[in-house]
Symmetry: C2
Subunit: 212 residues, 2 copies
């Protein structure tokens, strides 16, 4: 039995979803609230499996709410349902722990499918959102040849990110300290920065720095 909580300030939508989901034999709607505050007060957060959460709520926003809910119940699967599709809404939601992101225009059937998918370990998203998410991973420096670091430069940048001193880096890659400096000069020039911290920051944004 999948226990669901709905948090949505629009009465019409909230009621519609509640009705639709309640009709499913393996779903039970534990509660439907119009704000995160009410949902938190209910004490049911820790007992549910799935939380359907609107972003544009009065008081505590959906993004903040997701974080709070997750602190109470790490296991609960949070699915955001929003009319917004700006970066802040999407990525903010994902950061705060949502496992899915749907547009408010979802049909009841889609909503049911989404919940089932989430339970099965998937991440319900509209195709457009999925693409946005994946695109955020893409290196965006393919064109800018200036920003293409050599292998050695990339290695050094990673060591810089770990906070290693020039000396340590030099030892590690068998170069003189000034040899290391030589490459760092190029890195800074290519990335248009003047310090380690900026280089690391930019390196992350350009996805030059290894791993996730």
């Amino acid at each position: 039995m999948i226990k669901i909580i709905i948090v949505e300030d629009n009465n019409f939508a909230r009621t519609a979803w509640e009705t639709a989901l309640s009709a499913e034999s393996n779903f039970v709607v534990l509660g439907a609230y119009s704000s995160c505050e009410e949902a938190l007060d209910s004490g049911l957060i820790k007992k549910c499996n799935v939380i359907l959460l609107d972003i544009g709520l009065p008081g505590i926003s959906g993004i903040e709410g997701a974080e709070l809910f997750r602190r109470i119940n790490e296991k609960a699967l949070i699915i955001m349902i929003s009319i917004k599709d700006d970066d802040k809404s999407i990525f903010g939601s994902l950061q705060s722990g949502a496992v899915g992101y749907l547009h408010k225009s979802v049909s009841p059937e889609e909503l049911i499918d989404a919940i089932n998918l989430a339970i099965k370990g998937g991440s319900p998203m509209t195709p457009q959102i999925a693409r946005r998410v994946l695109k955020s991973f893409h290196k965006y420096n393919l064109g800018h040849s200036e920003e293409n670091l050599t292998d050695k430069e990339t290695t050094i940048l990673n060591l810089l990110a770990e906070g290693k001193s020039y000396k340590k880096i030099a030892d590690e890659i068998f170069l003189s300290v000034d040899g290391v400096k030589y490459h760092i000069r190029s890195i800074y020039e290519k990335l248009h920065v003047h310090s380690r911290a900026e280089a690391v920051n930019k390196g992350q944004k350009l996805r030059i720095l290894s791993k996730w």
Copy 2:
């Protein structure tokens, strides 16, 4: 008409996919190769819409290949098809420009659906991969209260990431230089680091640093 290129070293799989896709009225397989090198030599990369790409290829790997293909044809939609599901394969593929990631066990029908989905602006992924991707966005410091920076600390960390000197930061937030240092000491302690670069690096990973 959707023009497809297949790069897969397993003859059996390659032939099976080619046959299945060719049967679709709106698909045409421009070429099916057993290595990225062959695909690049064919000169057809720039003419296709979709590239199905294996990761574990001899010679140029799928990940490297994706990057090369994308340089030639930015518009081509690259869908990775792999038996691997480690972080390096998944996130490496996404970074190199893939818009989808499927498991090699896909059925012909799923493959056809995936291509159609990609064309429509979606991102074909198995539910498990999707969840992995979304999870990579989650803040993973909800528990570790030690790592929760105060607002001022977060502000300073962001300024540190921009490479600003203590002096500049001090001016910007109306504190003495030593006041700034005071907070930086706390930041370093909370993040368990000893330098700007490390702090920035960790700040990114913990998603403390602003924006995407």
